[in-house]
Each structure stands twice: as structure tokens, then as C-alpha cells.
């Protein structure tokens, strides 16, 4: 995950920090007690009425991996004070212009929809896969301003003003394959194919930032993209071959 420009986002009236707070509170609930409130799974011992309120002040550490100039990991801490209650009035929607794969598109989006949800459900860009919606698996990795991000971890309305690129965008919708795609084909760097679009986008973002990454840099950068079929060595070899480091 890379940090978008918070200042810019706050000018637009939507703070990524606020969004993260909500996510953090949810995570705390999930980790500390039972199963998440967002699932509607209630916590034993708490009132079973509709108005279940959960508050937590636990500190959560999030690891942030970036592929900007140089690859690196940073850590950030946040204090989550979150409330999970019954529905609180109507969710607002907003007309936004999203620049996706070079095409500005103006559309009405719900303020609480992630970019992942809008890319899939509104724009039908089905290469963007929903593995967890928690920022844990990398299946929904896209590029925002050239950097790899989990599209489930940003609201669609926060993406306005940024260049959004999906797998469809790097290959002219499959008509002109990116070298990374060619390398994935040459190495059969896939099993079931579900993580593949995210792997390719993360690799493209890495190679944009570091054209000839070392093995260690590839492993670090690709470390957030799970492949449950387990073809990691094929992926590593494919990415290295594009960078010319193997």
C-alpha cells in the first residue's frame, strides 16, 4: 500500500485517515473478539439487540509496503476508536470523474464503495479480483499514478484526480501484451489465475520504479501478493526476466 496525498484528499472532503480509522476499528473487533461485526456476527455476551456498539482503543500496527522510488517497508501506527452501530442514515453518493486506463469517466458512486467495488461492479473491469477486501492478499492490486495499491483499501471517491490503471489498461485490453504478461506466459507463472492480474500489476509497478530489481527487491515488492496455488518461483523468475536480472 502506498499513501496517497492525504492533503489533496482532505481538500476534497474525504480523509483517507478517517477511512483507515474505520478499517482499523473493524480489524480490532475481529482480532479481539469473535467474528467481525461487519459480518453481522455478534459477540457472545453482548446484547443481541440491533444496537450492538463496540468500542476499542487498541493500538494497531500496519505495515506499509511501497514501490515508489526504491522499494521499502515502513511502519505506521494508528489509534482506532471505532464504533459499529446500526445503519446511520442514508449513505451519500457522489458524482466523480475517475480516470481509468486513460479514459475519464464520470459516474455516480456510493461514498462507501471501495475503488475495487466500483472497478468491478460499475465499470466491469473484471481483471480486478476480490480476494479479501481487507488489504491482505493483493488480488485486487492496480496502479494508481503508477504505484501498486490494493484497490480494496481506497474509496472510489478518493481516487478522483489520480491515474487508475488496471490489467486491461496495460495491454490495450489484451491487444498488446505488456512484457510482464509475456514473461508470465513464457514461464507459466500461474496456477488457477485468480492472483495473476494482481501479481502482474504489482510487478509492473515495481519495474516502473526499479527497472532492474534484485531478487530480494522482487521478493519484498511481491510479498503482499498471495498465490495459494504456490507458483512463487515461476512468478519470481518471470519478473526477474523482464528486468533482465536473471
Amino acid at each position: 500500500m502506498t499513501e496517497p496525498d492525504d492533503e489533496l484528499i482532505e481538500k476534497k472532503g474525504v480523509s483517507r485517515r478517517n477511512f483507515m480509522k474505520g478499517a482499523v476499528a473493524g480489524a480490532v473487533v475481529g482480532a479481539v473478539v469473535v467474528a467481525g461485526v461487519e459480518e453481522g456476527v455478534r459477540i457472545p455476551g453482548l446484547p443481541k439487540s440491533a444496537a450492538t456498539t463496540v468500542t476499542s482503543t487498541k493500538t494497531v500496527t500496519t505495515t506499509v509496503t511501497g514501490t515508489g522510488t526504491g522499494t521499502g517497508t515502513g511502519t505506521g501506527t494508528g489509534t482506532g476508536t471505532g464504533t459499529s452501530t446500526t445503519p446511520t442514515g442514508p449513505v451519500t453518493s457522489k458524482v466523480v470523474t475517475l480516470t481509468v486506463n486513460g479514459n475519464p469517466q464520470t459516474l455516480l458512486v456510493q461514498a462507501n464503495w471501495s475503488l475495487l467495488e466500483v472497478l468491478r461492479e460499475k465499470l466491469n473491469l473484471f481483471s480486478v479480483h476480490d480476494g479479501c477486501s481487507l488489504g491482505e492478499c493483493g488480488a485486487c492490486t492496480i496502479m494508481m499514478d503508477g504505484m501498486g495499491i490494493n484497490s480494496c483499501q481506497i474509496l472510489a471517491i478518493e481516487a478522483e484526480g489520480h491515474q487508475i490503471t488496471t490489467l486491461e489498461g496495460i495491454s490495450d485490453y489484451g491487444n498488446n501484451l505488456d512484457p510482464v504478461q509475456k514473461a508470465f506466459i513464457a514461464n507459466q507463472a500461474e496456477g488457477c489465475g485468480y492472483c495473476t492480474p494482481g501479481q502482474i500489476m504489482q510487478a509492473r509497478a515495481l519495474l516502473n520504479a526499479i527497472p532492474k530489481p534484485t531478487t530480494a527487491q522482487i521478493r519484498t515488492a511481491m510479498g503482499g501478493n498471495l498465490c495459494i496455488c504456490g507458483v512463487y518461483n515461476r512468478i519470481l523468475t518471470a519478473v526477474a526476466s523482464v528486468g533482465g536480472s536473471s
Binding site: V41, P87, W113, G131, E168, L226, I228, N233
Partner: protein, 745 residues
Amino acid sequence: MSTPTFNVLSQPNPDLLLLQKVTGKLDYSTDHVFEGKLYAAMLGSPYPHAKITAIDTSAAMALPGVKAVTTYLDCPIMTQELFYVGQEVCGVAATDPHIASQALLLVKVTYSVLPFVTNIDAAITNNTLTGLIPNTNEVGEPLTGGWGDVNAGFAASDVTVEDTIGMSASYQHSTLEPRSCIAVWDNLVQDQLTIYTDCQNPFSFRSTVAGALNIPLENVTIKTHGTGGAFGDLNFNTHNVVAAVLAKKAGAPVQYHLSRKQNYLSSTQQYADRGDIKLGAKSDGTLMAIQATFWTDIGAFPWPAVGDAISPLQITFNVPNASFTGHTITTNKPQGAYWRCVGEPGGLFDMEPVIEQLCAKLNMDKVQFLLKNVKTMNDTDNGSLGLNAGQSGLPFSSMALAKCIQDAANSIGWTTKWHAPGTKVLSDGRYHGIGISGFVCNKGTSGGDIDCAIINSTTDGGFFLNVGISSIQDTVSALTYLAAEAIGVSAGDVRIGAYGDTSVTQNCGGQGGSTRCITTGAAVLQAGLDVQSQLFAVAAPMLKTTPDKLSAKLGNIFVTGTPTQSVTVAAVLAASPNPIVGRGYNTYPTKMVTRTTCATAAEVAVDEATGAIEVLDMVTADDVGTSLTHNGTTNQIMGGAVQSLGYALMWSWFVDDSVGVPMNPSFLGHRFPTQNDFPTPDNFTAIIEESYDKNGPLGVKGLGEPPLATPAAAIVNAIYNATGKWVRSQPATPWAVLKALGKSQ
């Protein structure tokens, strides 16, 4: 044994869906657009055991955007009594996924909380019942079997060892695509339902849905192309039924994409095993007796699973005396079902430490011990208690375990690298260890299903293969290559036709038990030969001969022995008065037993200060019979090693037995190996052994499961070799390693 020369098979043979996968164009379950589609969300049980005494969904239904609600009162897969945390209580369909989730908070449920038990020892010894089986927690009668006289066997042994290592890990499949589907009822025709779903068993899904909804089988169509991992969990499709019920009630298509948390809790799990094992051997290493009692914790899904855990110990060795008992115990935990290789990874975890201890007492090299005692082609099968029971005494159709063990050992440099436990320290101060594991697997034989394949000619001189299976990894491609070999054409001449669609293909078994390339493969082989005989009938007059004098190879039909007297398949198709359609059904001989075999050798470094383990090098040698696609075979072996590494070191459920709640339903909590956890390409080797199986179509046998079982056991053995201590709780996390070293409580 002489092995036929292949023209297409036993080559790299890339996945024919590669282009679709790297462009994101392969359609998975929810990659379909429907006007007015609704989104489902599911309320799961907060309690490990409870009964719903009242449920009021009126407030949820009144939330703007909510279109349908379903509970045990009208959903066939839901029950009033709940047996594990996360079990389905109430499904909602709404115009927006977030509204659906919000509506769940408005569902008022009153539960009568019942006693529960999530720990297997407590489930065996105390009186708390899981509620799954009347008056007991054990599934059926204990499984028993054996041969010879174990007491006499131990009396005749020079050395005996006896140990119980502990419970193996229980974990969820963690398919990257959670269970998901879209259910669409036809508005024009009564009770016609189409479900787009992730799936490893389309025809079984169809039966499940039709049965649950009580509508005719042919009213249900299952469509499945891409499936984002299955590993056993996608044999089950409660999610399809939920979506279908909601779609019917709402009068609109419903997309049900389980949240990661709900997928962890309400999908199936790998179950855990424990084995109390006693072994006896002569001083020369000859195994004389095996006595074992296994316990399987099956969670909230009562079926007699324990046979698979016993299997490695039962069918790997020649031993004159053996006695086995198996118990399957229910607990109020997520449902235990089939994870890749089912009970055998746990069975190996249980048995390997005891074998290692026997080798230590015998002062015998593990590799030499294995080579002295494992099954060879000269032996017969011991039979199984679980799957494929009743094969005792039959010869093998192929058996290459000894070769797998030798090749894995040679590749890693066993003879120079093995040392006494706890005696080698690396230059960086970490302990070095090496381990090996090999076994005979009861997977990878015929599934016994009725499979059908249809091959039809195209107008451009090629063929389409149409089979009923879904696409997980490269199975459809592998069968397409098999079809090309069978017909006698080049790989590119056969393309993937219809697959994963119950309305246009014939019956096919599921992708489980590593059976598909054998069972569906047998049907594809027969269909290919059917095509070939029809081609020969047209070609014979063209070549002024009779069909029985003809052969086909790489797209040319020629007079056998006179390759110059030939005609191309394309020309024969052009000359054929009718399109050519080949049909095949699976036939499978039963006079020999098909067993797959696999061995892994692993080297580890153990940091005594932190307990951290690094896998330095790993080699897996897997006998797959004829390898249909070397690329796919390699990826299966590699993927097995990745998953097994996670099984050995990081991947497990952690359940709080005081409240009966699984604590880690997420990718981060249920940690799966990443790119950083697995050895780099220089340090992992997949060796494809091709023994040519006499039962299988063109020598094929199963592939998917055995390479999952051995890496974890090899790693655990290597940790012992490094430290001289057994890690008695799985996974071998740094904490568990420190505990084994006596450095932590």
C-alpha cells in the same frame, strides 16, 4: 518396463488458458453482468452450539434496498440448531453490498446457548456433546483393520519405539477466490435456474442444488470457467443454494461472494489428526510390526474421515504384522472435510517422528531404512481402511516410491549432508538440519465416476474437446493434450471446447482425489480413439488400403510401416461427408491397484535464539505416471511444497476452547506463505517421475495431492535433525520451536 514414445505428452505443454489468465479475461464466478443484480451477505452464528428460539427479520427487510431475507425457515441448507461459530443463520440480498451487510445488524435473533466442546480430548473424555450425533461425539464405530499378529511381531523385533507426537494442524483452504456465485432464475420458463460459480465438481453441484430446492435436475445449469483455487473446499456448494433461494424470493439475480471472514468460518477445513504409534524392527532394519490408533478431529461435519490419516502408515511399507484402529470425533468447530490430500499430511506428521526414532535406535540412515521397507513393483498392496478399501493383495499398476526417495536424496546431497541430530552449526550460528519423507498415497486412482468426453471436428481441420469438468489450474488443458495424443494430431490441433457447463457437456466427476486426468482422461482417450477410427474409415479408400493398416501421428495418417503413403488429417476431415464426432466413457481396470508416490527432502536452518526456521533447500520427486503437461506438473509439485511449508511452519486454526471461537479467520491470522517464505528458484527442485501406469489412460495417474503431504513431514524431520528435539505442536512456529528447545513455556 518399456514406455511408449509420445508425440504430444510428456512435454512442457503450456496451459491453454494462459492468455486468458494473464489478460484477466478468464471469467470467474462473479465476472458476469446482470441488470438488477443483487448482493448477498450472511449472518453467521456467534456461538459454537446454540438453538435459534426466535428470529425476527422484519426490520432488516424494511431497510431500503433490501429485497430478500432467508433463514432456516425457508433455506434448505440452514438449520435451527447451530453447531459451530459462523454457521449460516440469515442471508440477505440487497441492491448494494453494504446495505446487505447493514441489514444483518437489524436481524433480531434469540439464541438458546447450548453446551459445546471444541477440544478433541474434551470431546473424547467428558460428557459434553457436540449435538451432531445422538448420545456420542464419535462418528460411527471405530475403524479397525490389520494382518498378521502384532504381538508376535513385536516379540520378534530387536527394537521397538512408541510415541504420540501430538495433533496435526487444522486449517482452512484459503482459496484466493472465496466461495462465490451468481444465481439467475429464468423469468420466462418456470423453475429454470442457472448458477455461475466457482467449482471443482459441476455435476455434483447441480445435484446438490436441485435436491435442496426440490426441482428437477435438468432445470439447474451450473456454469463454471475460472475457479480461484479449490483444494477440496469447492466440492461443497451451500453458497449456491443460499444465492438461489434469495434470488427466487427477490425475483432478481443474486451475487453471493462470501466475505473472507465468513469464508474462513463457514467453509470446510482440513481436519487434525493424532496417532498413537508403535513400531518394531529387526536389527537389520526390517520392519516387523506396526500398531497404531489414530484420532481425527472432524469438527462439525460427521463423516468417518480417519482412514485417510492411517493410510500412509498402512500402505507404504512391507510389514508382516499390523493392527490399526481409527476414531473420528466431532467437535463444535468449523466443518472438517477434504483439503488437498485429505488426511494424509496429518498422517505423515503423526508417523514420521516415530519412524525417525526407530531409525535412530537402529542407528540406521533414514533413506536406507525406507529403501529396505517400502513397497516396490514386486510387492502387493496392503489395502486401505478409508478410500479404495478392499484392494489387499492386488499387484500394483505402477510403483516408483524407491526411485522418488533416491532421486530426492541424491538431488539434495543426502549422503554428504546428513549428520547426527543437533550436531551441525552453520557459519551464521544457526543449526542446520536435513530431513526426508516418502510415502505411498491412496489418491490419484480412478474416481469411479461416470465420465464422458466428446470430441468434434472443426471446419479448419482441427478438433474441440468438450468435457464436463471445471477449470482449476491446467486440468482442461492437460486433457486437451491427451486428446491430441490419442487422435494422432499435433498439440495445437485440439482446442478447448465446452467445459464447466452442465447444459452442454455430459456427466463428469469432480476434481478431487487427484482422479480427473485418470477418470476423465480414460473417457478422453476413448473419444480420441473413436475419432481416429472414423478418420481411418475415411482415409482408407484415399490411401487405397483398409483402416486396420493405418496409423496416425502429429496430424498425418499413413500406412503403417510406410510413412510416405500418407494423407493429412485436415484433408481427411475435408473429404469426410459428415462432421466427425468422437465419444468416450471412462473404463478403468480393477485387477491392479494404482498408487501414487512422492518423496521430499528438505534442508532447514534453525535460529536457536528466536526459534525462526528458514527452509534452505527442498526437492520433491513425484511419480505422476505419464506427465500430460510438464509445466502444469511442475506447478502442482511446487504449489504442494508452498502449501505444505505453510502447513509445517505457519498455517493453522487457533481456537479459544473457553468460548469455542476460532480466533484467526483472516489471511493475516491464518498466515499463508508469501514470496518471502519459500526458497528461491535455485533452492527448490521439482522432479517429475513418470512410471507409466498400466491402469491409467496412456500411463497417466494422479498428481495434485501427494506433493502436498511430504514437504511438511520432511521439514519437521529436518527441524529434528537440526535440534535433536521434536516440535510436538503444529505448526512449528518460532514459539513452538522455542518450547521444543526448552526455552519457552
